[in-house]
């Protein structure tokens, strides 16, 4: 029975279109008839419209019994108005004999039906589904293609503002957390610390909470509050996957400049398929390059470089520093084996990680190979491996203690023999 009811509920998306069409048609027909003084529409059509409206409302109510619906404003009013439509349509059919009353209730029924339809559409397609292209036209944005890289400013901040700011902004800080500016997001709240794990694709507390089940008490936004749409969740996940960058998205490096590097056997690679940051390695031509070549090749893409290896390039010296200074995103730099000198040491402090082995700045000796601290030493109890009497394989069942040491034998008879002259048997061993 419950399965049949479930089936009935699933008919809702199909049934609902019938009363919409019929009630609209009846409304237009009766309006025209009222103006002209004609008789009302045939009873058959009125009854059919009422029946359809009742079925649509009933199936909708049944569908709502299934789990998985987010209780929000649109659903609540869709349901209320839908049931009102069903009831008023039945009332229409009952009042058919009194034309004036019938027409007044029909007007009410059409009005509630339009309201129910509107909120139903909002539930399935989202707000502003119909007018969104016109809004874009008004904002004169139509020609801009959707940006490929998520931006905090453009994509994420508006979502936080719409869905999170009631509890996490200047006015209120539940859990001590604010999500209305980058510095607050990084500062984080009392429970999770920083809300995002900057620079990492995963380990973001905020996403973990968003992805929890709605029923989980740690889920955000809490049950009963307006939830994130799937699109919004995807957008946030995409942004976090990039490592939660707050700045404007970095433009891709000039393709011609990248190609030129590759033509010169320089390895250039984005650090991931979703990033425009570059890793550049001169490994193939290290011994041939000099300051001028590197500067000329890298200048057009200097903004994109986060990792650069000039290792083993003996012709590279302090003359490379003007270029290095112009790389705002450089995080990891290898100058191993170059001719860089102490003159550049201060400037290099600006970069998070610099490798300088085998240069004038640092010529680190390898630590003594065995210098690791030994905390404890294991013991090996060296008992005998063969029976001291017969030389046979020992069996631990036949163990005695002689002068504090365990001695094992092959059979129960040997210990007796042993005790007769221990020194003789130990000496033999």
């Amino acid at each position: 029975m419950s399965l049949l009811l479930e089936f009935f509920g699933r008919l809702h998306p199909m049934l609902l279109h019938l009363p919409i069409g019929m009630l609209c048609a009846l409304g237009i027909y009766e309006f025209r008839a009222w103006r002209k003084g004609d008789p009302p529409a045939p009873r058959f059509w009125v009854s059919l419209a009422a029946a359809c409206a009742a079925f649509a409302a009933g199936s909708g109510w049944q569908l709502h019994q299934e789990p998985g619906y987010v209780e929000d404003f649109a659903l609540e009013w869709h349901e209320r108005l839908g049931i009102a439509t069903g009831l008023s349509a039945i009332l229409c059919a009952m009042l058919y004999n009194n034309v004036t009353r019938y027409r007044k209730v029909l007007l009410l029924s059409v009005a509630t039906m339009l309201g129910a339809g509107h909120y139903g559409g909002t539930m399935t397609h989202g707000e502003d589904f119909i007018f969104e292209p016109l809004l874009r036209l008004a904002a004169n944005n139509e020609s801009q293609p959707p940006a490929s890289v998520v931006s905090y400013e453009r994509d994420i901040a508006p979502v936080f503002k719409a869905k999170c700011s009631k509890c996490h902004s200047a006015s209120k800080q539940k859990g001590g957390l604010r999500l209305d500016a980058p510095e607050w997001i990084l500062k984080g709240g009392k429970n999770d610390g920083a809300a995002v794990n900057v620079g990492h694709p995963d380990g973001h507390p905020i996403l973990e909470r968003i992805l929890l089940d709605l029923e989980d008490e740690d889920h955000m936004p809490p049950e009963g509050k307006r939830q994130l749409t799937l699109e919004e969740t995807d957008l946030i996940a995409e942004w976090l996957q990039l490592g939660a960058p707050f700045g404007p998205p970095l433009a891709a490096a000039d393709a011609a400049a990248v190609q030129r590097l590759r033509d010169n056997l320089v390895h250039v690679q984005t650090i991931s398929t979703e990033s425009n940051k570059l890793y550049v390695d001169f490994a193939a031509t290290a011994t041939d390059i000099n300051n001028q070549i590197v500067t000329e090749l890298l200048m057009p893409i200097k903004d994109n470089i986060v990792e650069l290896s000039l290792a083993r390039a003996v012709q590279i010296d302090d003359g490379i520093m003007p270029l290095i200074a112009q790389m705002p995103r450089l995080e990891i730099l290898s100058l191993v084996g170059t001719s860089i000198t102490a003159a550049s040491e201060v400037a290099l402090k600006e970069i998070a990680t610099v490798h300088l082995f085998d240069t004038a700045i640092q010529s680190e000796q390898p630590s003594d190979a065995l210098a690791t601290e030994i905390l404890a030493e294991g013991e090996i109890k060296l008992t005998n491996s063969e029976c001291p009497v017969t030389g046979e394989m020992i069996d631990p069942k036949y163990t005695i203690v002689y002068q504090g040491e365990e001695i094992q034998f092959c059979c129960p008879n040997c210990p007796k023999t042993f005790w007769e002259d221990p020194e003789k048997y130990l000496g033999a061993k």
């Binding site: 694709p201 390895h267 193939a284 290792a311 390898p366 630590s367 190979a369 030994i374």
Partner: protein, 478 residues
């Protein structure tokens, strides 16, 4: 990238090759014969920012004994020569080498263990590995590895390709496919083999094969001696210019064939010829260690001067790593100690201990350990019961897939930790099991890949290194 894109890349490449890269004065500085020899192999790119750019995988072929090297079981001494309890073995399938044995006597290790300071509360390691022990604060020791296979061939195949069946792509070829090459003059995947002192097992070239991936991704074996890559040098009487002309002609013919058939193997052939041409220059430079200082050579030990030794291969591995090679695999053979283990294993450890520790330290001081994953592993473990006669000083150990130890270092792996535990007999895993698929998935994660998304369509399905298995072991990540 679909086939259309590949095709475009190809045409673009040849357009450049024929016309030169007009107006670029820089090219002449790099040598005219390097023109047009671009790194043309398309790659998938990483899914997220990697913590590692390359892998050095030291495979101890034959399977070293975890009980004598890494898995300290002092409690076993009181069980010496006692029968392995059925409650521990639980009817496990054994190899044909010991399944007929009347007894399964417990053989505790004869070697002394010391506890070394790491970043937790210390790690017990065998006296056989004094130099490796000095890496205690850099290494992540996993004591809870397990595998599905009990014999060398399938276990090696599993470790190297993610499945016991032959014919899949090896780990290194996946890296070459996914990451491409950071040095256009060397292959992305290089393999070196050293012979051991103990019982050796066969080692097939398909362990570094490319399976269904385009064949330019297969590992390139670097041999000992003056001719590290066979047939690389020009025959007598053929100059480098002659070779260039020959290649230009054969490439043009091959390109015609490619335009006719769109067979990707033709492209592989072209790029392999070009790679070989470039390697005529780059390999001699690579293998010439005269520019290494004495102090570095001293670190690796005196074997470093013997070509083909593990120490020599370790030094080469560092030189390959700093030249941008993605996957460097060192096989050291001879770990299959079915009998006479206490004596044979000493020959094995003395060959690898000093050199492998030196390799890690050498990488570390050059800043390369940050983005290089070191993996040291055998294909399975060895049994706690003795194969053959047991005495206080001698025993053998059979294959044991249910638990064994491997260690990793660098490349985003948490340093100075021990992960996983085995039971009192080092027979079953007591805590945090790590499968071969898990290890692969974790390493791929460090290399910037979601292992579920690094795939290649073949025989009607998406093939993956981890097949349909594998979980990233987050607790061992930094």
């Amino acid at each position: 990238m679909d086939d259309q894109d590949l095709l475009l890349t190809r045409r673009h490449f040849f357009g450049l090759g024929a016309a030169g890269i007009g107006g670029l004065a820089l090219d002449s500085l790099l040598g005219p014969d390097l023109l047009g020899l671009k790194n043309s192999v398309p790659t998938t790119g990483t899914h997220f920012r990697p913590t590692a750019k390359r892998v050095i995988y030291m495979h101890m072929e034959g399977a070293p004994s975890q009980l004598d090297l890494f898995d300290y079981k002092p409690g076993l001494q009181k069980y010496f020569n006692q029968e392995l309890p059925e409650s521990v073995r639980q009817g496990q399938r054994l190899t044909g080498m010991t399944s007929g044995q009347a007894r399964f006597p417990v053989a505790p290790s004869v070697f002394k263990f010391n506890k070394y300071a790491n970043n937790q509360d210390g790690v017990w390691l065998s006296e056989l590995l004094p130099h490796t022990a000095s890496l205690a604060k850099d290494m992540c020791l996993i004591r809870s590895m397990h595998t599905d296979a009990i014999n060398h061939e399938p276990a090696l195949t599993f470790f190297n390709t993610g499945t016991q069946q032959v014919g899949r792509a090896s780990f290194g070829s996946w890296m070459s496919y996914g990451l491409g090459n950071a040095n256009a003059n060397l292959p992305a995947f290089v393999v070196m083999i050293s012979q051991g002192a103990g019982n050796m097992q066969a080692l097939a070239a398909r362990m570094w094969g490319s399976g269904f991936l385009p064949s330019e991704h297969q590992g390139c074996k670097l041999r000992a001696g003056d001719d590290p890559v066979l047939y690389l040098n020009n025959p007598k009487g053929v100059s480098r210019d002659d070779r260039r002309k020959l290649l230009d002609l054969s490439n043009a013919l091959n390109e015609k064939e490619y335009q006719r058939t769109f067979d990707p193997e033709v492209r592989s052939r072209i790029s392999q010829y070009e790679m070989a041409y470039r390697m005529q220059m780059s390999v001699p430079e690579l293998t010439d260690i005269s520019d290494e200082d004495d102090e570095t050579l001293e670190m690796y030990g005196k074997d470093v001067h013997t070509q083909g030794s593990f120490a020599s291969n370790c030094l080469r591995a560092r030189r390959l790593a700093e030249r941008g090679v993605r996957f460097i695999q060192l096989f050291h053979r001879g770990w299959d100690q079915h009998n006479n283990l206490p004596n044979e294993i000493k020959g094995q450890t003395s060959a690898v201990d000093r050199a492998q520790a030196a390799l890690v330290k050498d990488l570390k001081r050059r800043g390369l350990l940050d983005d290089t994953i070191i993996l040291w592993a055998g294909e399975f473990g060895r049994s706690v019961y003795s194969q053959g006669a047991l005495t206080k000083t001698n025993y053998g150990r059979d294959h044991h897939p249910r638990c064994f130890s491997v260690w990793l270092a660098g490349g985003g792996i948490k340093p100075g930790i021990v992960y996983g535990k085995t039971d009192d007999h080092s027979y079953n895993i007591a805590e945090n099991p790590v499968s071969v698929h898990d290890l692969h998935a974790t390493m791929l994660h460090c290399l910037g890949f979601d292992h579920k998304r690094l795939g290649y369509f073949h025989q009607g399905r998406e093939m993956r290194l981890t097949d349909v298995f594998g979980n990233v072991i987050k607790p061992i990540l930094q």
